[in-house]
């Protein structure tokens, strides 16, 4: 059996459902306590894997919805130590796999090895690193191997085949399939580029593939799960949380509808 927490999770979900729903929320939005409660709420409403965003001053791949939320989190006083606290509490309260999504400078600043050790100790499954490409990732790959953490790299529609192979080989858990050329944010259509990119990746890896960016409805989740192993939803959940925990639960239920076996 795989040593990857996420790969095991993707496999076990497949037994009963069409694929894995990955839900993103930023830590510290609208405040630390609510963000923890919100993440736990997601796990009770069909989200199998949590992607907890670490607010960062310069989020270059995030659209307006997530930028606004992480700006509030930073204004509320988010510090890196809160991320480890949040992961610890959420892992204790649920059996979801908890990934963190972070730009790389906070990791570098904290110390790559120390970050990996502390994240693993808090019960975290690994990291998604949106501004880290495999050729710059030597230190993180070594540290995550040592700590037994998963690591998720991005594959983009513009990546040539050898880069797709490198991303898939460097990833452990799943590879993040960037559905469309652009920044995070809800879109009415999930680009057909996602389907063909998943096809190209299948030719180079048999590990899980999850599609993200632009997914906002249960129907889109269902469609994505016809060809991918996971669907990642972010901005839609952040908007729902802005309306309150009840709204978040409703939206998560609707998205989880899309994971039902047809």
């Amino acid at each position: 059996m795989s040593t990857s927490v996420l790969e095991r999770r993707f496999a076990s979900v497949k037994a009963t459902r069409a694929g894995t729903l990955v839900g993103y929320l930023p830590i510290g939005y609208p405040d630390l306590a609510t963000s923890i409660e919100a993440a736990i709420t997601l796990t009770q409403h069909g989200v199998d894997v949590l992607e907890l965003g670490l607010p960062y001053s310069d989020p270059v791949i995030d659209g307006p919805t997530i930028q606004a939320a992480t700006t509030i989190a930073l204004e509320q006083g988010f510090r890196l130590k809160h991320a480890f606290e949040a992961v610890r509490e959420i892992s204790r309260a649920s059996d979801a796999a908890v990934l963190c999504m972070t730009y790389y400078n906070p990791v570098l600043s904290y110390g790559v090895e120390r970050f990996a050790t502390d994240l693993a100790a808090a019960g975290g499954a690994g990291l998604i690193t949106p501004d880290l490409v495999p050729e710059e990732a030597g230190e993180w790959i070594a540290a995550s191997d040592a700590a037994g953490l998963d690591r998720v790299f991005l594959a983009a529609p513009t990546s040539p085949d050898e880069r797709l192979r490198a991303a898939a080989e460097a990833s452990r858990g799943f590879t993040y399939v960037v559905s469309t050329m652009g920044i995070t944010g809800a879109r009415s259509d999930v680009d057909s580029a996602a389907r063909s990119l998943v096809g190209r990746l299948r030719a180079v890896t048999d590990r899980p593939l999850a599609v993200g960016i632009g997914i906002s409805t249960g129907a889109q989740v269902a469609e994505v799960l016809t060809y991918a192993d996971g669907a990642i939803v972010g901005s839609r959940l952040v908007t729902a949380l802005g309306e309150g925990l009840a709204s978040l639960a409703d939206v998560a239920d609707g998205l989880a509808e899309g994971t039902r076996r047809p």
């Binding site: 930028q67 890196l80 513009t158 880069r163 960037v178 920044i183």
Partner: protein, 409 residues
């Protein structure tokens, strides 16, 4: 003049400068960076490109820019001889045009129709809008809202040139946030758009490519000074924001061990205060905007907002080659306060009849001190990276130069 611009720099072609540089960007941008790097490697040694760029430098920009000795200013600098490399006399008013014309030709070679750029002081935005007009390209400029206010004249210039100017309201609303927004645009529109980056920072190939395009400053100045004085300077000085005018004048002298290199950063209220932009002086290594280099950051790795009276130096990062030159000791970086820079700006205006950009005034202020250290008989070459017209409002306010009754509403 010989064309040394294709000569390799002693610092190498990137992507790395020692421990610095690289490409710390989301995967969707990598293909575009590869495309730029490949095209630039071909273009920079292409004789057709070289002669086209040389013609633009000569007939459009007005190169070579003059070298001006400034004895009345130098009298305040310990008796050193001071020479200014007059990038302020370039078309559009600063060194930024050198880089932009090269990248615009590159855009044409790649076959894209739209360019985007970030701008702080507005000089790079104006230069990009100018090149876009010249080459018939669509142009969008991202500029922090704070900067659109303090450099309002340049906003008007860009719009007059046909560019769309987008005020950026996220984060600190200055240059760093304009870069974030330009990168978001680029990720989204990479199929049709080239990002004309304005300084020698960012992901590879920008630091090396911008340096290659700016090294004409030092190549010309080195030859001009040799002709004028028969000797190399004792020191070369430039202001450092992202680092393009500095690396542009340093490169020609990197292999001359007797020439000391000085970069003057924006100290703001002082490098020992929180209101500063002196990245090398008080920052520590990290990753920002695609490169590993020095970064102004807190203990969590969050970027700290920079502060400077100069919009063009108000940036919490710096190009990776400067980080490398600082660590190796080949170049020395010092902070200059807002007040010292403004005093130097007024001094050059009054002693020589040259009104420098506030950015360039940081180098001038640094040289006033440096001259006293080096003593009389020393020769100092300064990159006067731009002219001060754009700064008139800021300067007038700083020195209280406008009669209240005369202000028109």
């Amino acid at each position: 003049m010989t064309d040394t611009s294709v000569a390799p720099s002693p610092s190498g072609p990137g992507p790395y400068f020692g421990a610095y540089g690289g490409r710390w960007v989301p995967e969707p941008l990598i293909a575009a960076l590869d495309e730029l790097a490949t095209a630039w490697a071909e273009l920079k040694v292409d004789p057709g490109f070289r002669s086209e760029l040389a013609a633009l430098h000569r007939d459009y920009t007005g190169r070579p820019s003059p070298l001006t000795e400034v004895p009345r200013f130098a009298a305040h600098a310990g008796g050193a001889r001071v020479f200014l490399k007059r990038e302020d006399l370039n078309h559009t008013g600063s060194h930024k045009i050198n880089n932009v014309l090269g990248q615009a030709l590159l855009t044409r070679k790649i076959g894209k129709q739209r360019v985007i750029a970030e701008t702080g002081a507005g000089q790079h935005g104006v230069a990009t809008a100018t090149a876009a007009a010249l080459f018939g390209l669509d142009c969008t400029i991202y500029m922090g809202e704070v900067d659109t206010e303090r450099q309002a004249l340049n906003v008007a210039r860009m719009r007059l040139l046909g560019a769309e100017v987008v005020p950026v309201t996220s984060g600190s609303r200055t240059l760093k946030d304009a870069i974030n927004e330009a990168m978001r645009d680029w990720v989204t529109n990479v199929a049709t758009t080239t990002y004309i980056f304005g300084t020698a920072a960012g992901p590879h190939p920008f630091p090396a490519m911008v340096r290659d395009l700016q090294r004409i400053i030092g190549d010309e100045a080195r030859a001009q000074l040799l002709e004028r004085t028969g000797a190399l300077p004792d020191a070369v000085a430039a202001c450092v924001g992202g680092g393009s005018n500095a690396i542009g004048i340093f490169t020609a002298f990197l292999a001359d061990p007797g020439v000391a290199l000085y970069g003057f950063e924006a100290g703001g209220d002082g490098a020992d205060t929180p209101r500063t932009a002196a990245t090398i002086s008080v920052g520590r290594p990290g990753v920002l905007h695609g490169a590993r280099s020095y970064v102004l950051q807190d203990e969590d790795g969050q970027t700290v907002e920079s502060h400077s009276v100069s919009a063009g130096l108000d940036y919490p990062g710096v190009g990776p080659e400067h980080a490398f030159l600082a660590d190796s000791g080949r170049a020395t970086y010092r902070a200059v306060t807002d007040a010292a820079a403004m005093d130097a700006l007024r001094l050059l205006s009054r002693t020589e009849g040259i009104i420098p950009a506030i950015e360039s005034a940081h180098a001038l202020a640094g040289v006033l001190e440096l001259g006293k250290e080096l003593g009389s008989g020393a020769t100092i070459l300064v990159n006067l990276s731009g002219r001060g017209d754009k700064d008139t409002t800021t300067v007038a306010r700083w020195f209280d130069l406008v009669d209240r009754d005369a202000v028109q509403e």
